[in-house]
Amino acid sequence: MAEIIVKNVRKEFGDFVAVRESSFTIEDGEFFMLLGPSGCGKTTTLRMIAGLELPTSGEIYLDGEEIGQRPPSERDIAFVFQMFALYPHMNVYKNLSYPLVSQGMPRAQVRAKVDEVATILGIKDILKKPVGGLSGGDRQRVALGRAIVREPKAFMMDEPLGALDAEFREHMAEELRALHDRMGATTVYVTHDQLEAMQMGDKIVVMNNAVVEQFGTPQDIYDWPATMFVADFIGSPSMNFLSFSGQVGAGADHVDLNGTQMGVPALRGGASGDLVFGVRPEHIRLDDDSAYRGAVRATEYLGTTQILTLDTPNGEIKARIASDQPARVGETVGLGFNAQTITLFDRATGQALLSQGNERVLGHG
């Protein structure tokens, strides 16, 4: 059980800055995702929490105690790697018991502990098998078991499902999450897969270029992205960006998009110049009465919904609508946007403008 606070942590490798002053809090028992593209600094951040790298500056607290410069052995954190590292010459039981035996735990206690963990993971019937012949899923379970037996304060996982094929990954993701729900141990999990992050995480940190872009619950980050990077990285298809230039004042609740007045959540501050109107695909609807038109370039059937790709005066957009709504490639349709869901961005900085919609999520810096 552990609360982890990362405060102004920075990591340099020579001239290269892997992580810039980053801060976030992982609450006790949370399943916490570090999400971002490769090279964004997420794995380095995880390794600093585990003690495999030492921060250049900043502090890391584990249950109130500053541990930033301590070796891994003094942190009581278990690390599960991308490739499950098992001892190939030992059977499953020995792989699981090894961390306990090497701590000098009495044999009877080891047996009880391994038994308990094997039950949690559903691998009791393979305890005597050599690890060499195991399926990918069982290897994964054994690797997890090795981390669990020690009862560490927290688990660190670096893309543990990255090597698995899509169908099996989904299954293991559910299993991991269910395991976490049973044990309630604080878990920090690195992934570049936004769907995995949304699906499994209680909270998500989105990183890009060594910087924390946003930190919060999956739904808040999805609804109210702090930056264009986050808006683009989360969601599939991602948020549409309609570029326009103009001036908006504090209190404004609409903007001029190519001559059509479009409602937006009331703005808290003004902005001018190159701006971006951000709208999620599912918040676009076909509306014959709308003066704002788009030409359908492609339709993609997905069962109950379909994705339309449309050319608009402000660029290409994608809309998700019910699959029983007629839409043909080549035809021009009127488009309506759900005003209460819109985010405006400043094109130059990529930052969201504060509004009545997002101030709850972004309001306190």
């Binding site: 094929d165 899509a166 169908e167 999450r177 269910a178 729900d181 769907l195 949304m198 699906q199 619950t217 999956p218 739904q219 999805y222 609804d223 989360i234 969601g235 599939s236 298809p237 991602s238 999620r280 695909p281 599912e282 370039r297 492609a298 993609e300 059937y301 997905l302 069962g303 109950t304 994705i307 790709t309 998700r320 699959s323 490639v329």
Partner: protein, 332 residues
Amino acid sequence: MAEVQLQNVSKSFKATRAVIDMDLTVPDGAFVVLLGPTGAGKTTTLRLIAGLEKPDAGSIHIGGRRVDGETPAQRDVAMVFQQYSLYPHLTVRENLAFPLRSPILNTPEDEITRKVAEVAEVLHIPGKLDNKATELSGGEMQRVSIGRALVRDPAIYLMDEPLSSLDAKLRADLRIELKRIHAELAATLLYVTHDQIEAMTMATHVGVLDEGRLVQFGTPREIYENPASTYVAARLGQPRINLLPVGLFDVDAPPGAHRMGLRPEHIAHGEGAEAQVTRVEHLGDQTRLHMKLGAHDLITLADPHTTMTAGETIRIAPRNPLFFDATGARIA
């Protein structure tokens, strides 16, 4: 372009029966996607048509001509593989022209120039023609690989998971691109994948394969709304269809019904049987409720901003259920 027909085609590799009694017709101008997990026989089917494998039994016709005795070159098919296979030391232009320079085709130079320019246009890479293949991004390389098939005017294009090595965004772009190419060239395509999104979004017809057999063939909508078996029903749809015992809900089931298939979007809330929510997944555009009804797990969709949390109970009732018999075959 031409119709391709497989009749009673079988192929085994030692004890493994890769393709069993397959009857498949790819209509002229169709975009047929063969969908199935690893080992279902998709790639073997493709290779049988291409002539890279010989069938043990059955016949293959392309454009009305029986081809199973012919070499790959004689069959006039163009194949695109999963891994792009370009000549790294050649430019994009030379890579695209290469298939046309084969001694069998023996294409005149001005025709080659015209064809390459046309394909570069279709693939949105005219600016890259003089780049070396190694100077391209992954997506551009795969487009050039597809282009090497497109420069030819074969009876059919055969594609074996051409998008699977690309990242999600690029895959989404190329899906639309392939669909557009198909429409513009009026080409006949047979495309193999295990990705249900590719099958649903691109195909005019989907063929679902199960352990070497073609188990259903139809439009994506037919397959999704009218699956022939529990196996087919589970191949399309995310989250996956719920397969539950018939007695779980108070509904009139047809005689012989053993299991009921309920798509997550076909579960009404607020009436019916009491279920316990075990987990709420906020995916942004949709929220998935995982729940337990008696001893059974099921998934349904809720409003993205639902305030429901794990531990709550909710009444649920089926809408438009599908019924299957004890063998998994659809009965209503």
